[in-house]
């Protein structure tokens, strides 16, 4: 679980200071605090457990090597996720891995997003069960890296728009637009699934 309270934040500053003095034990505390979240983000970004394990290790090693350059202007969490995001994008580009991407992303991120009204589902009445979650996971897997990263950082990591904008280096308006499109993509998949259930 990521650190939240001010006491935890002070503790985190101590770990960062010790890590800057090349103390792997102190850095291990940072790993303890963030490994699950970073790993979850990376696994969903790359879609492979094995790759996610490699990349998550790379994230923490890179962070340990460059923690001297961490200036504290952003939070440690934002900084770690920025490293994770960049490594995931690099890995995706290198491997030229393109999942069968449903073309939900507009040609320009600022294009008009569309609403997806559908009478087949009522948000209030949808029961979240394991099968539905599998549909959601599959939908996350089939969207573009750009949409997926924003969706995961906002809806799973609970970062605000400004933090996400800094993490992935795009304007806040683009973050909002991508988040809307990412959710709309999932909504369409969920609607299809619920529609099949009604037949």
């Amino acid at each position: 679980m990521a650190l939240r309270s001010s006491q935890d934040s002070a503790q985190e500053e101590t770990w960062v200071a010790k890590s800057r003095r090349n103390d792997p034990q102190a850095f291990g505390k940072i790993v303890d605090a963030y490994q699950n979240r970073v790993y979850g983000f990376v696994r969903r970004m790359l879609g492979s457990d094995e790759e996610a394990q490699d990349v998550t290790q790379e994230v923490f090693i890179k962070a340990f090597q460059s923690i001297g350059r961490f200036d504290g202007r952003s939070s440690l969490r934002t900084w770690l996720f920025r490293i994770a995001y960049n490594l995931c994008i690099d890995r995706s580009r290198r491997a030229a891995r393109r999942v069968s991407e449903t073309s939900m992303e507009p040609a320009s991120a600022e294009d008009e997003p569309q609403d997806f009204p559908d009478s087949r589902w009522d948000p209030a009445s949808v029961v979240i069960n394991d099968e539905l979650l599998r549909v959601v996971e599959a939908a996350i897997e089939t969207m573009s890296d750009k949409l997926r990263s924003v969706l995961l950082l906002h809806d799973r990591e609970e970062m605000d728009y400004d933090q996400i904008a800094r993490t992935i280096d795009v304007p806040v308006g683009t973050v909002k637009s991508r988040l809307f499109l990412a959710r709309a993509h999932i909504q369409r998949q969920v609607t299809e699934y619920l529609g099949e259930g009604q037949r």
């Binding site: 090349n22 790993v31 997003p113 959601v136 637009s177 809307f180 969920v190």
Partner: protein
């Protein structure tokens, strides 16, 4: 729409449909890397810390050698200067010696000339 009316986008993002999707994404199970993964990461971190320490020691040693070499060079340079000064003294002494030799040669010549030519006979 996004830039012209940002509030409209906020409203869309807060719609019941979008909120329902947010809850679903949040409800997806979390991930946890294995203990073996963590052990491997720990050993990599230890190795990197050791390498960083070695680099630090090496850079300090390099700096010490550089400073030592610089100090030695300065010592050699300052040691040369007094010896240069010393070299001027023998030259002075040498000049003085030549003068004395010339004077004594002159006196010898005068004395030789003032000797009675008949001296061997006397």
């Amino acid at each position: 729409m996004t830039d012209k009316n940002p509030n409209a986008m906020d409203e869309r993002l807060n719609s019941p449909e979008q909120e329902a999707i947010r809850r679903m994404v949040q409800a997806a199970p979390g991930d946890m890397p294995s203990m073996a993964w963590r052990a491997e990461l720990n050993s990599k971190l230890q190795r990197h810390a050791k390498q960083a320490r070695s680099r630090l020691v090496f850079s300090w040693a390099s700096a010490a050698v550089t400073v030592g070499a610089g100090a030695l060079l300065l010592m050699v340079m300052f040691k040369d200067e007094p010896s240069n000064l010393d070299q001027s003294q023998p030259q002075t002494i040498a000049r003085a010696g030549v003068e004395e030799l010339m004077i004594s040669a002159h006196f010898d010549a005068v004395e030789t000339n003032s000797i009675d030519p008949a001296w061997p006979a006397n």
